[in-house]
Amino acid sequence: MSTVTTAAVPTKLWNGGKSPFNVEYGKLMMWYFLMSDAFTFGAFLISYGTIRFSSNGWPDPNEVFQSFPGLGSGLPLMFVSLMTFILIISSVTMVLAVHAGHNMDKKGVVKNLVLTIIGGAAFLGCQAWEWSHLHHEGAWWGMNPFLNADGTQSSTNFTNYFFTITGFHGFHVLSGVVINIVMLVMTLMDKFEERGHYLMIEKAGLYWHFVDLVWVFVFTCFYLI
């Protein structure tokens, strides 16, 4: 009889003796951090939506974001598509790095982390180009050279939200690149081989995917609709 009870107890998730979430502490905390960060980004984007819904006119994103480096203007959506694909691909290489970490495959981790870092840096480069291009056109916080889609005068809400939200996202990308560089150095120093697991890569990976996730929303809200 006693054997039955001892066998039954561990199968109950909340009876103690094991983690009900079945993840390591740091990973769980990374999830909670990302959830709080999602609320921060959500608050920004909802605020943007509220102001846009309360305005009589709004600039047409296809007229504002229509330049491509080296190809001139008149190309709406092209440059931002490139940025989107760069971020998706860097997310894929990050998954592959996490996967290689599961298999204790140091070479695979290093290779895919390097690719992810290159992808992140490329995205930041694109964003730097776009920001400086818009700045040259006279757009900045508090300055809006663009007209509304219906030809009326636009307010600075448009540029303020654009630079604040893409800037906040870009800062996350920058942090992600720095985190990935730290992970790469730690991998090269055999830190994870010594620990016997690559769980740190998983946590950095969660953060990196979150950055990609936020871009999906920023891309849609600012450039597409």
Partner: protein, 148 residues
């Protein structure tokens, strides 16, 4: 651990899943972009609104794929999934309430503040737009800034 053979099989499936999700995300993004290009050529306001709705649905679909597969949440314990996803349901109310509020504010102001409404209906002369339309790398940006 001893189950290396089983693990190898899992590995193949996991990598396959990663590429499948990548392909899916790419296809969804291309559909979004195609809709975006199509939207530019349409004048009907209600059609544009409907396309925007479809784009938002595709966006949420993409977000689901990233969280479920890239962030691996789908394969975690149900209790972990719930502790992350349930608080995020607040967004349903946030988005609905705030966008409704913004729209209501616009309508109230247009109804009760005719001066403000008239101000937002003044068209800016075309030459201004022409200057911005022609704008390229060579355009003098500095003087414009000085005006602000």
């Amino acid at each position: 651990m001893a189950h290396t053979a089983e693990q190898h099989q899992d590995n193949g499936a996991a990598v396959k899943e990663i590429w499948k999700v990548t392909l899916f995300l790419t296809v969804l993004t291309i559909i979004e972009l195609a809709l975006g290009f199509w939207m530019m050529k349409i004048d009907s306001k209600s059609t544009v609104f409907a396309i925007k709705g479809v784009i938002v649905i595709l966006m949420i679909w993409k977000a689901f794929y990233i969280v479920a597969y890239f962030m691996h949440l789908k394969h975690e314990f149900k209790s972990l999934i719930m502790t992350i996803v349930m608080p995020l349901l607040l967004f349903v109310w946030f988005i609905g309430a705030f966008l409704y509020e913004g729209d209501s504010y616009k309508n109230l102001r247009n109804t009760y503040d005719p001066y403000k409404k008239a101000q937002t209906e003044i068209k800016v002369e075309k030459e201004h737009e022409g200057a911005h339309g022609k704008h390229e790398e060579h355009a003098p940006a500095e003087p414009k800034k000085a005006v602000e």
